[in-house]
Symmetry: C3
Amino acid sequence: MKLGQLAEAIGAQLRGDPDYEVQRVASLEQAGPGQLSFLASSKYRRLLGQSRAGALILAPRDTDAFAGNVLVSANPYAAYARAAQLLHPAPVPAPGVHHTAQLERDARVHPSVRIDAHAVVGRDTILEEGVWLGPGAVVGDNCRIGPHTRIYANVVLYAGTRVGARCIIHAGVVIGGDGFGFAPDQGRYEKIPQIGAVCLGDDVEVGANTTIDRGALGDTVIEDGVKLDNLVQVGHNVRIGAHTVIAGQTGIAGSTRIGRNCVIGGQVGIAGHIELADGVVLSGKSMVTNSIPEPGVYSSGMPIEPNSAWRRSVARLHRLEQLYRRVDALEAAVRSGAGREAGPSFERTSNNKETES
Amino acid sequence: MKLGQLAEAIGAQLRGDPDYEVQRVASLEQAGPGQLSFLASSKYRRLLGQSRAGALILAPRDTDAFAGNVLVSANPYAAYARAAQLLHPAPVPAPGVHHTAQLERDARVHPSVRIDAHAVVGRDTILEEGVWLGPGAVVGDNCRIGPHTRIYANVVLYAGTRVGARCIIHAGVVIGGDGFGFAPDQGRYEKIPQIGAVCLGDDVEVGANTTIDRGALGDTVIEDGVKLDNLVQVGHNVRIGAHTVIAGQTGIAGSTRIGRNCVIGGQVGIAGHIELADGVVLSGKSMVTNSIPEPGVYSSGMPIEPNSAWRRSVARLHRLEQLYRRVDALEAAVRSGAGREAGPSFERTSNNKETES
Amino acid sequence: MKLGQLAEAIGAQLRGDPDYEVQRVASLEQAGPGQLSFLASSKYRRLLGQSRAGALILAPRDTDAFAGNVLVSANPYAAYARAAQLLHPAPVPAPGVHHTAQLERDARVHPSVRIDAHAVVGRDTILEEGVWLGPGAVVGDNCRIGPHTRIYANVVLYAGTRVGARCIIHAGVVIGGDGFGFAPDQGRYEKIPQIGAVCLGDDVEVGANTTIDRGALGDTVIEDGVKLDNLVQVGHNVRIGAHTVIAGQTGIAGSTRIGRNCVIGGQVGIAGHIELADGVVLSGKSMVTNSIPEPGVYSSGMPIEPNSAWRRSVARLHRLEQLYRRVDALEAAVRSGAGREAGPSFERTSNNKETES
């Protein structure tokens, strides 16, 4: 692709040869002639001098540090993303239904759809223009999959699942399994039928082996532009606001509402029946037990220590109550010592402490 | 369904019109004519006055707050579960083996069984009455699946797995994979063959993409009525007692025994080779490193703080040892100051502190 | 198998009857005649006297505590692993491609390969000698699977994945899904194409439903002998050093490098873009936010307490800042009290404290 074209396509300003050809993207360290890279953070500006890249995408403030072809963009990372999409386009499959795929009666499949080997499409299910079902993918009855959505191998969508346009559902994902709802009754559990469904908006991406449960009564809803990483668990009746991203192995318990434009790290645990505001940022492994009404960055968890230090830390935490009492006693001792000029003995206070505990 | 019938079927007492027809369940806020809802907690009693529901399931103490048809039950939530099961019965598939399904020789399949497209049944495997295998489900050799058990799409049961009656195994579940057993030997690992199996009791439900490993020597055992949520990991030779429920992403390391009627939250981590008593309740994200001999509610973990506060908390925790020493020194100072009337200097104590550290 | 043969095969020294036949392995408590067991830790030496095992593998120091046949080995656990492999060999499937399997053109499949029902092999993919693909396994285009590697049911390998020799990939694993890479742009996200791949060395084992993402530019690399348990998440461009073992539900964020011979517990969370030295040991649920330059054992996390105690612990942790200030104030009071002989009042210090907060 010629740099002139590329600049126009990604909305960047070209400084250099518009006829220069770039073939692929590469890391800043490895990019050579014919290859495109980028610099997102001026922190690494010093690397620009040594770069052999055929062209770089740079912010205006960094252009003077590189002598070669430059695509100037206010957001080099996003411009790079668009350029990489153009240079490495996702494969567009030839339309067609593999002879081993099984379509139930009344499935409505657009002629442009590609269905791979052993995929299964249920009754009354609609696959819109350009949908691609990978091998072994199972789409249940009464589903609707929007245009140009890509569903990878062995994904399972339960009956009634609706997926918007241009979504990417990675291999092994399960959408629409029963929510975890049981009523205790005399030492046993009665299953609560889960009669809601799951609804995904447009431009949603769901990572491998992630699970999204169907609603108990209403639907579980994933709004437009949400990105879920691998092995994420989304409980029944959760709603995730548009353009929120959630990293791997995070779990969201039932009926919780996550705001828009949140950024949620990996292995975060979010309790059920709470609400997170728009713009909440949670660092990895955070434990969220209550609603978060204000945007901001929140964190929890104790980073590692050497094992022996950790053992002492745990012991100290478990003795913290005693420490509070010792400080209470000290304050009492100091206070009364100051008052009576010739001090009360700490021992007496110490006795009080015993009485308290 | 007529209310009279329904009352009888769920063991509730009817106050109202026995011929009134209800078609479906709905939430208390949304239920209208012909729809059934319930109130489990008197805390929300005030909502009853506004309800337009065709009928409600209520505890005796709440019946006076609603003027319409009432099904009176001591346990409204369980009664609702049973009513919802009747009004929204799980589909019963037509018996039959899809022509693309593959049955190995000597598989014994009851005539009422339904096997969907591309499912695979291994040698000498027994599928009892009313079993339903979803598309792409793989049941290995020498398995036995009890009556009316439902196995969803793309589940994998390794050879030798036994599943009881009326179980529900959601899509993507893997049961019977090798336990994680390796013997270190000169900087490498020798695999320990995992020659046990997995045995599930009756009425077990297993959530999507959960994994249950086979035993190393004996079996991994999930007793009757256990409910596992999605993405749970059960290690080899674990035993989970009857009617225990475990929420999403919890992990149980090898050879641990969980009691009966436990309630275990999401993302809990339970170490190997320990034992939990019957009736243990663990809140989400708990870290269990030792046996729990007594029933009760147990918790751990630090809920989130604003990031800057959390950074200070972590720093303070790492300085906790110093704080303990400072309090030791203060106590020594106060004690000796009280004894000698005209105080020992804190500085001297401070020097002692240095010596100690 | 005769003990004489077995001793030779596992590199142990025999004390007893070389013609004695053992059929299978069993636990020390349950092993009877014809069965082989072992003792790895002298701690349980007292059990040896009661053992009815046909033969035992013991360390030299423990041989005198058992009167029967003994295989003497410096590492009884590893010797047991090898013996169990011989007595319970993994099944070797008859070669052949199931008639329902789908091979794309130019797939190169060694005649000894076994491909089960509904498996799919992509274009230009190479399956070397003795490879076994389970039912429903999907191997994308341009993959290469090394000799004697076993891929269980419903595994998905995306295009370009390379797997070494003698690997075991358990059911439901997904390798090569897109890494989680998005560039924020005006409240939305642009997808960064993930054009790297995944490369597994020899003798790697990957547990059920684990996910390993393809690299953004370069490859994600799992070196020889690595063992991953179930439901592990490996982010894009991670490198895991040879002979490292990682327990269930652990997550490793993008671009992190793990050293060789590390032992990582379950539910550990490891941040992105950091480096762990060779020989690092992490206990379960550890939270790793920074590089670990030195080998050693590291831990974090607060084990459970009874719920009421935990609530108080959390409250105390959140008041820790105040406690530090109270100790500051006490030190100031004691110091000045000691200096002026007749005490400064604690109240004055207390006022200062107010000012500070």
